[in-house]
């Protein structure tokens, strides 16, 4: 197969990758987007197999076989484990990029084919690849709670980390000058593996989604570097698409939390949890499911605000039952989705979709907020920070400036959570002490189950 034909196949593959992401702009075309992605990858793999320099298929067949064996079960994880699966996957991706770069370096070293440019590209690929690999493994560990999730900090941490990185970069630069100074190469590898670990341990477990997105971006960039190494435009474009995606998702998350990249990466957020708690005593009104179901029955509009607690409790199916009960009574029910509710972008959307709640009932923060003052009941299901009014007015609060869902403006607020413990940001939520707030203490799944039972008539006779 001529090199030009392979390049043409790569061209088609690139176009398909672009369409794949374009079609993600609408849930109606999104599955077609996955189809395009699969086709693009098939063309990419098919085209590469036809490359003239391929002489043996044995080893790649082993790789394909084993990869499929591991990959298929990895796709069965429950939705709650999606973040750690993604992180694990990034680790694989970074590893692959790193290994390819390593092998290329030594092959070209042996054949005397190294140039400044090639070495530079390889160093970038290897640095990003191995860093992504160990960093993602750590992130996966924190999310799965194998590794301690709290930020692990020590004196001069940032200085130590940055000087490690600077050292790796310095040796990399020297390598570019003198590509045959081969003792430097394993050092670069070791430093980037180490830096990946050290970069992640001071970051709190709950910041992992942002970190995963950033690592996704790095994985993309290492594919770009591989494209420069191999002079392959498909790698460059696909890598750039990937890099952009990771970058934009992390920007969206940071913006929705009103935090900067630097704060996420070096801020050791989530560490001061205990200290921030105040010990004032205010009164809280708690209600029973019976009371709550009566309030709901008399409402004509209800906005349900789900949060991380709904995910933990796996309460989405109960929430759907509740939605149906209320809708049956002619009550207007909407779901208010905060961009960083839960622990990954779009977390609530997937959960509610899993429970077959039609996605046109899900309303984004900016669209629902103007409606909140006319809303009869705001039902907060395991959300906390994303409805904390302190973000609007308390300049001293760590979440000050973060856009929130204005649950407090509804006529009645009902909040389901187990305790008075704070959420991810570790701060108290004055919403729970407000006059128009009723607390429904308990596990979200159980409480909503009770509400549904009341509404569906089991409890009606009472």
């Amino acid at each position: 197969m001529s090199a030009a034909t392979v390049q043409l196949i790569y061209l088609v593959s690139t176009a398909l990758f672009i369409f794949s992401l374009k079609w993600m702009s609408d849930p109606r075309t999104a599955r077609r987007g996955v189809g395009a992605g699969v086709a693009a990858m098939a063309f990419a793999v098919g085209g590469t197999i036809l490359e003239p320099e391929i002489v043996t298929y044995k080893w790649m067949a082993v790789g394909f076989g084993l990869g499929t064996l591991v990959g298929v079960p990895l796709s069965w994880v429950p939705l709650t484990a999606v973040p750690q699966r993604t992180a694990l996957s990034h680790a694989f991706g970074g590893l692959a990029a790193g290994l390819v770069g390593t092998a290329k370096y030594y092959t070209w070293l042996a054949n005397g084919e190294l140039t400044h440019f090639r070495t530079g590209a390889i160093v970038a690929e290897v640095l990003l690849g191995y860093l992504t690999c160990t960093g993602s493994l750590m992130a996966a560990g924190k999310l799965q709670e194998i590794v301690p999730t709290r930020p692990i900090t020590y004196r001069n941490q940032n200085i130590i980390n940055l000087s490690l990185l600077a050292m790796a970069l310095a040796i990399g630069t020297v390598l570019v000058w003198n590509p045959y100074m081969s003792w430097g190469f394993p050092i670069v590898i070791a430093l980037s593996l180490l830096f990946g670990v050290l970069l992640i341990i001071p970051i709190g477990g709950a910041d992992m989604p942002t970190v995963i997105s950033l690592l996704n971006s790095y994985a993309g960039l290492s594919a770009v570097a591989m494209g420069f190494v191999m002079e392959n435009k498909l790698l460059i474009t696909a890598g750039a698409l990937d890099g952009s995606s990771g970058f934009i998702l992390s920007v969206i998350m940071c913006r929705a939390m009103n935090r900067s990249f630097t704060n996420v990466l070096f801020g050791a957020f989530g560490q001061v949890q205990a200290a921030a708690r105040t010990v004032e005593h205010k009164t809280v009104k708690s209600a029973t499911p019976e009371d709550a179901s009566q309030v709901l029955e008399n409402a004509s509009s209800v906005v349900i605000i789900p949060g991380y607690g709904m995910a933990v409790a796996q309460a989405q199916h109960r929430v759907r039952d509740l939605y149906e009960q209320l809708a049956r009574r002619g009550i207007d029910v909407k779901f208010a989705i905060h961009p960083v509710a839960g622990r990954m972008p779009g977390h609530m959307n997937v959960l509610l979709a899993e429970a077959e709640i039609p996605y046109d009932r899900l309303v984004e923060m900016d669209d629902i907020n103007p409606e909140m003052p006319q809303t009869d009941v705001a039902l907060v299901v395991g959300a906390n920070d994303v409805v904390n009014p302190a973000a609007r007015h308390d300049k001293g609060s760590p979440i000050y400036g973060m856009p929130i869902i204005d649950a407090d403006k509804a006529k009645t607020v009902m909040a389901i959570k187990r305790t008075m413990n704070p959420g991810f940001a570790g701060i108290e939520n004055e919403l729970y002490y407000a006059d128009n707030t009723l607390m429904l203490f308990g596990d979200a799944k159980a409480v909503i189950g009770d509400l549904v039972k009341q509404l569906s008539g089991d409890g009606r006779s009472s």
């Binding site: 672009i18 993600m24 990858m41 790789g63 298929v72 796709s75 996957s89 590893l95 290994l99 995606s245």
Partner: protein
Amino acid sequence: MQLDLVSALFVFMLATFIGLDVIRRVSRLLHTPLMSLTNAISAIAVVGAIILAGEEHGTFSTILGTIAVFASTTNIVSGFLITDRMLKMFKKRETVER
């Protein structure tokens, strides 16, 4: 060689323009599936891995190549499958209400 670098930079720049634009218009509903889709796409590194595993440049290269093919294939398979699994859940009103 240096000209090739510029040519590659050209492609990179254009692809980044496209990437930033396209991603910015991904539906907010689908950010979780987007993460796993791009995760699968980042396994494009398989292209480099296949060449390593298929060339004959000595055992070292072949071993690294095979591991890399394995790692990327894992990503491709699980990434696309899980994305599709999630997307299947998104339904519009009409199809949901019975």
